[in-house]
């Protein structure tokens, strides 16, 4: 018996759920950032599974572009985190609840 497409989709949904739970219950902004990366990867797994099972390369190109967006997000997001930390000396998201440095 081979792994089915639905197995990969279930695994991806589980990973995404764990990421959502992490974003909701975490308060350290770096930990939240990592949970968002986890969710992006769960979606990537769905794309790759569909691309492979339906023999279409488009899904893999999507994953490629998602990875680029994730890299850009990491650069800008961590820049924002450093700027917030410099001003507030805290990484707690509740301390940065207004959109002002």
């Amino acid at each position: 018996m081979e792994p089915q497409l639905s197995w990969y989709l279930a695994l991806s949904a589980l990973l995404f759920t764990i990421g959502v739970i992490g974003v909701i219950i975490k308060r350290n902004v770096i930990a939240m950032f990592m949970c968002i990366e986890l969710m992006l990867n769960a979606v990537n797994l769905t794309f790759v599974a569909f691309a492979s099972f339906f023999q279409d390369v488009t899904g893999q190109l999507f994953v490629f572009i998602v990875m680029t967006v994730a890299a850009a997000e990491a650069a800008v997001g961590l820049g924002i985190i450093i700027a917030i930390f410099r001003n507030r000396e805290s990484l707690d998201v509740d301390d940065a609840s207004i959109l002002k440095l």
Binding site: M1, E2, P3, Q4, L5, S6, W7, L9, A10, L11, A13, L14, L15, F16, T17, G19, V20, I21, G22, I24, I25, N28, I30, A31, F33, M34, C35, E37, L38, N44, L45, V48, A49, A51, S52, F53, F54, Q55, V57, T58, Q60, L61, V63, F64, M67, T68, A70, A71, A72, A74, A75, V76, L78, G79, I81, I82, F85, N87, L91, D94
Partner: protein, 219 residues
């Protein structure tokens, strides 16, 4: 055989993902997240996508996580302290949402038929991805380059230290030398020599800016 590998790497991914959420120390979160990325790369290999597996290891586990770990080290993050429960009602909300999502997954798995079969294919190879990327999907590729340029500019703007001392700038305590061009010349009554100060409040007074630290102490 493939089933055993799927269970192995899928279980590893889920275990590491749960550890990412459960850990309080951000550094341990980062290490677990690298575990998730590596097991996902192995799953990509099982799905006949070797190029994406390599990119996953290089870009995610390599570049992005190095950046994250670098920031964690730079900020010297303390362990997350025990939270004061103020939005505790969100925890059951998260559990309910997870239960709903898992229910949906079970529903779909039990209803969707038939499952397609994974056949030997060459769509995951670098050549086929490159051919498609530079013909049909050239425009998204170019837009991606603009996105990266914007990210570079944004990151530089966010982390740049301004040369002119603004009101929000923090004055470093201790002896410091300030160039004449940095301060208001009329405040020093001397247009030639730089001014040396020995404390934060003194520097703030010379610069005629409000010192946040002394203000909060006064409060």
């Amino acid at each position: 055989m493939l089933v055993i590998l799927f269970i192995l790497f899928g279980g590893l991914a889920i275990g590491c993902a749960i550890n990412v959420v459960a850990q309080r120390n951000p550094l341990y979160c980062a290490i677990s997240l690298i575990g998730v990325f590596m097991s996902l790369a192995c799953l990509y290999l099982m799905l006949a996508a070797p190029f994406l597996a390599a990119v996953q290891v290089i870009v995610y586990a390599g570049a992005i996580m190095v950046l994250v770990v670098f920031v964690i080290m730079l900020l010297n993050v303390e362990q997350e302290e025990k939270r004061r429960i103020r939005i505790g009602f969100l925890v059951p909300a998260a559990v309910v949402m997870a239960a709903v999502l898992i229910g949906e997954v079970v529903f779909f798995l039990s209803t969707v038929h038939p499952n397609p079969i994974l056949q030997p294919t060459d769509i995951g190879l670098t050549a086929s991805i490159g051919a498609k990327l530079f013909t049909n999907y050239l425009l998204p590729f170019e837009i991606t380059s603009i996105l990266l340029l914007m990210a570079i500019v944004g990151a530089m703007t966010l982390s740049r230290r301004t040369d002119v001392i603004s009101e929000s700038a923090r004055v470093i305590p201790g002896a410091q030398l300030l160039a004449v061009s940095d301060i208001d010349p009329s405040a020093s009554h001397d247009h030639q020599t730089p001014i040396e100060t020995h404390s934060t409040s003194e520097a703030a007074r010379v610069l005629e800016i409000s010192d946040r630290r002394t203000e909060t102490e006064r409060d």
